[in-house]
């Protein structure tokens, strides 16, 4: 079962250089641990939301606007997809996410194999 972990952080918080080094060292360790068991299916860290561009559709016509979809202090700062047995395992992994000033949203990935229209047997 795949889950996407969305890392949500307060973009107003700024780390000094030493803290930043420790922050990345801890995250590297987390990736190494989860990655060792082959559970990671890719992920990225994102640039701040002030670099975001959002396309909305008005009457079907694309409208390009500056900024994220939702204006908020707290934004998705990165994501990783993991492949694990169940929600409990995903929760256990997310609980170990090192930056304790962030939140982790766990979203199950929709599997098209399990869709009702899929022929059974």
């Amino acid at each position: 079962m795949k889950y996407m972990l969305l890392f949500i952080k307060n973009e107003e918080a700024v780390l000094d250089e030493a803290d930043q080094r420790a922050h990345y060292a801890a995250i590297d360790e987390w990736f190494a641990e989860i990655g060792r068991d082959g559970k990671i299916r890719g992920g990225e860290e994102l640039q701040p939301s002030n670099t975001a561009t959002t396309i909305r559709f008005q009457d079907g016509r694309p409208l390009v606007t500056d900024g994220p979809f939702m204006e908020s202090k707290e934004n998705v700062a990165g994501f990783v997809t993991i492949d694990v047995a169940d929600l409990d395992e995903a929760i256990a992994i997310a609980k170990k996410w090192p930056p304790k000033d962030q939140a982790v949203e766990i979203r199950p990935v929709l599997s098209h194999d399990a869709m009702p229209h899929h022929p059974a047997g």
Partner: protein, 413 residues
Amino acid sequence: MVSDPTVEAMNAVFRAEVGPMCGSLVRITGDFDLAEDLVQDAVVVALERWPIDGVPERPAAWLLQTARRRAIDRLRRDSTYRAKLQLLTNGWAPDVRSDPDDRLRLIFTCCHPALAREAQVALTLRAVMGMTTSQIAHAFLVSEATMAQRIVRAKRKIVGAHIPYRVPGADELPERLAEVLASLYIVFNEGYLGSGPDVSTSRDLCVDALWLCGLVARMLPEEPEVLALLALMRLHESRRATRFDASGALVLLRDQDRTRWDHAAIAEAGALLEQARRLGRPGAYWLQAAIAACHAEAPTFDDTDWAQILALYGALVRLNPGPVVRLNRAIALEHVAGPVPAMEELDALRAELDGYHLYWATRAELLRRFGRLDEAADADRRAIELTDNPSERALLEARLEPTVIRAIGANSN
């Protein structure tokens, strides 16, 4: 509570049979949503038929057969369930209930922390206790549509997010068990506080909660907080008959007829607490139960061991420093150290508890001790405004009148 013997017999059957049946069907089909729906269907049919036909001799087999027939109807209509029908035909014998852990797995799945508390409570009552959506909605004073939606959403999440069907491992158990116990205590309190003297519902939530807590205690006999919660429920229950007067007003602890308390239940709770104490450090339920035991074991209100109660509240505040616990501690403090320090504590809590009726009711009591009758009457009025419970209102209104009369007398002198 007055209830029909057939209703009681049916409820006993549901309590005993629905959990194991639902649990084993979840295991066999691997589909929580389907299994739970089938069992619920069977319960609804039973509620229609049994009052007319009587409770069948082998109710478990009857429920299973009915669920099975329903399953076949449903599976015929829906081709995606065909593979599951195969599983049901093969694995679904009357002796299906072979794994005693099924029911525990079911409880932990229903009370998973990824589900909202109110959904945990509703799912547990439906899947484990065999309550219908309508009964649960009635008990929690929401519409049946709202409750149905809450249950559907929760089940969709269990399936969609792949919430596992298992008893958590030792490292997770304390946290996960706390979720289960919190849900059970909500069920109990809903029955205990929500019911007035005249309310007769078809299910007594206190009985259900006690039964379920007893079951968890049997399945996890080494967990002290389960035993402590069971003791706490028994202690509340032991005084239940004396909580209302003939007119339906709430009777305060001090005025209750202690000879009518259930002393066998009190002794049993004491033994449970002792057993829990030997198993581990006192937790929040243990402390609350120990406080309730101090009250229950005092032969008269004046014999209450307030110093002990104050010490227990002190420990509880350290564990759980919420304002309501501090309010209760302040009441004990009044009995040990007098009204002045108690009032200081109440003043400190005012901002946090401004919207809580028991804060104002407690404040009114204290103000009467100081002879500040006008303020006492105002505090009681505020408490009345803040509660919807008719029995509590009756008590508050009954004491407001003499306070006002005394206040008028005092003011005119």
